[in-house]
């Protein structure tokens, strides 16, 4: 299933945040969305789920497999949220509820969307935790977020997002709040899940290093507009827009973005 964003405009309090964004996500592909803070990357992600701040005005089109998400009733939108489009947030220390068990946060929407029984949901949750490589998944099920490290929490947040088998995953700066040593592991996990489950992933990041590690396509945003879009290799090697070139030049030591993989080994003890 594809997600097509066309001419998306968002205005909050008279200020134009997005000025006509076009993006297209395909199943099994990671689409990187780069740009500096305030360029509208996150707002684009939130707009897809209808999670924009109060008082935001939206126009344009967001179509998921031919259905216009902007025209849905609140109830239908709730079916899409979590069920078809899921989101991973920037900081897993704040995006998981500190007072609810991992199991509860994993199964609640499963039971709601997929109408699973308690035991089924639990079995599925433990499977998911294993899939995102949480050691001792069975035991982790009954624990609380503060008992896990940052990298583990983000893996759990990814498991939560994937619980209802969504088609589209929006990852908003999923590694920004993590230690450098665990970033690669989380990215590799995202890439692997994208390939394995045929997810369409929108990876929002300001970090071109992250982008070059996992994205298939790259779009660059500036001031609420997509200024350049294309396959990773082309955009990162032969940028056509001056802004993209400036972004690349600002990388420390003009590092050559890596060609493939994460370029790092799975961190070992550090993340556990």
């Amino acid at each position: 299933m594809t997600l097509d964003i066309t001419g998306l405009k968002v205005t909050i309090g008279g200020k134009e945040i997005l000025r006509g964004v076009d993006l297209s996500l395909e199943a099994g592909r990671v689409h990187g969305l780069a740009g500096e803070s305030g360029s509208g990357k996150t707002m684009t992600g939130l707009a897809v789920l209808g999670l924009l701040p109060h008082g935001a005005r939206v126009s344009g089109g967001i179509s998921l497999g031919g259905r216009d998400l902007l025209a849905l009733s609140p109830k239908e939108l709730n079916q899409v949220r979590g069920g078809e489009v899921a989101m991973v947030f920037q900081d897993p220390a704040t995006s998981l509820h500190p007072m609810l068990t991992i199991g509860r946060q994993l199964t609640e929407h499963m039971r709601h969307h997929l109408r699973l029984g308690k035991a089924e949901a639990k079995a599925r949750a433990v499977d998911l935790l294993t899939k995102v490589r949480i050691p001792g998944a069975e035991e982790a099920y009954g624990r609380f977020p503060h008992q896990f490290s940052g990298g583990m929490r983000q893996r759990i947040a990814i498991a939560v997002a994937l619980a209802c088998s969504p088609k589209v995953l929006i990852a908003d700066e999923p590694t920004t709040a993590l230690d450098v040593t665990v970033q690669a592991g989380v990215l590799r996990l995202l890439r692997g899940l994208c390939d394995e489950l045929g997810l369409a992933v929108l990876l929002v990041t300001h970090d071109l290093g992250v982008m070059s590690a996992v994205a298939d396509e790259v779009s660059v945003m500036k001031d609420g507009l997509v200024v350049e879009t294309g396959p990773r290799a082309r955009v990162l090697r032969e940028p056509s827009h001056p802004y993209t070139r400036a972004l690349l030049d600002s990388l420390p030591d003009h590092q050559e973005p890596a060609q493939d993989g994460t370029g790092r080994d799975e961190p070992g003890e550090g993340e556990r």
């Binding site: 995006s95 709040a177 230690d179 290093g209 590690a213």
Partner: protein, 381 residues
């Protein structure tokens, strides 16, 4: 290639909702998260409880010391307050009275005797009622607890409900109306409201019963708790329950109004604070129905500051009862405390101090335990 500025873990914004529980986030290299505290035996909540109860016992002993010392420090001669002019002129009578009440012994010995008495529930004899203080208290304390308990229940239900509505309808009509209501509740003096309510509902409209706890014609409900409404229900006496509840409702509402206003304000700000949290947005992104998000995600976090304030408010409710009891002729401990203080009836004053201190202690214990139940970070420390 990944050495960018965002790599470091940003400090988590501190919110009052964090309570005392510092989130533990072991960095890389730290030992793996402990499997709760189960290893060290016992359910974590049970161990948490035991710790808090031991603390409470220690504090209870502290209360006996403080009430004793304070009571004996007050200026004023209990002899002068209790004996008549003629008796005061006779040194033999004065000495005899002092000996009878143990006032001739050194203070530390008086305290030890006081403690010894406490161990078998002996609080001394009231100089005014000539009855054991424990008997007096057993009669008056339940009346006050019933009044204050009803008031705090009403406050919690209405205050939290109003606060949630105000937060969800922020800056719209319900919010503005509730803001005015809660300001009125906070600023109107309780004794004035009590007088007005008594005048309007009893004297003018005659829709509420007047003074006392229950219609004297019916008699008190037999029972162990001393709470008329509960005893009546337990005994299956509907007539007494209706009468007792009717007597209770006006003073309880009058007493509750301040707390309702307070809790409305606090709940509103606590809920607004939680609504802005990432995990609420994350819950929305999961497509959960609004009521699940409200009750499970928002209220759960908001409850921590709410119960803190409710616990403190119960304290001010208890002191508020003195005036309300006087106006509604409610035979509670407030009136008893007032009488014993003005007559320097030291055993009674100490008894009241001790009971009120212990009530505070129990409230705090309940609040602490609720923290532990609501927030795993508190009990898993």
């Amino acid at each position: 290639m990944q050495e960018q500025e965002g790599a470091a873990l940003p400090p988590r914004p501190a919110t009052p909702l964090d309570g005392g529980g510092e989130p533990v986030s072991p960095g890389p290299g730290a030992p793996p998260a402990r499997p709760a505290a189960r290893r060290r035996g016992g359910h974590p909540l049970a161990r948490f409880l035991v710790r808090r109860i031991l603390m409470a016992v220690l504090l209870a002993w502290g209360i006996t010391l403080v009430t004793f010392v304070l009571t004996n420090l007050v200026p004023g001669d209990p002899v002068a307050a209790n004996l008549g002019q003629r008796a005061l002129g006779d040194p033999a009578i004065v000495a005899q009275w002092r000996a009878d009440h143990g006032l001739d012994k050194p203070l530390w010995e008086q305290y030890l005797l006081h403690l010894q008495g406490l161990t078998h529930g002996d609080l001394g004899t009231s100089q005014q009622s000539h009855r054991p203080v424990s008997e007096d208290l057993a009669e008056f304390v339940p009346a006050t607890l019933e009044l204050a308990g009803a008031a705090i229940l009403v406050s919690l239900v209405l205050g939290v409900a109003f606060g949630v509505v105000a937060a969800l309808r922020r800056d719209r009509l319900p919010d503005h109306l509730l803001r005015v209501l809660s300001l009125i509740g906070i600023s109107v003096p309780t004794f004035w409201l009590a007088l007005v309510a008594f005048y309007v509902f009893f004297y003018r409209l005659q829709i509420t019963p007047g003074s006392g706890r229950v219609d004297p014609a019916l008699g008190a409900a037999p029972g162990v708790t001393g709470l008329q409404t509960v005893d009546a229900l337990l005994a299956g006496r509907w007539d007494i329950f209706v009468s007792a509840a009717g007597h209770l409702i006006t003073p309880a509402l009058v007493l509750a109004l301040y707390t309702i206003g307070l809790l409305t304000r606090f709940t509103r700000s606590a809920v607004l604070e939680v609504l802005g949290q990432d995990y609420v947005r994350a819950a929305r992104a999961k497509g959960l129905p609004g009521r699940v998000i409200l009750f499970r995600y928002v209220l759960r976090s908001a409850l921590v500051p709410i119960i803190t304030v409710a616990g403190l408010a119960f304290g001010s409710l208890l002191s508020g009862t003195v005036l309300v009891e006087a106006i509604f002729a409610w035979p509670g401990v407030g009136q008893y405390a007032y009488k014993s203080a003005t007559t320097l009836d030291l055993p009674a004053v100490m008894g009241v101090g001790l009971v009120v201190g212990i009530v505070y202690l129990v409230i705090n214990l309940i609040v602490d335990v609720l923290y532990g139940i609501i927030d795993p970070r508190v009990r898993l420390q």
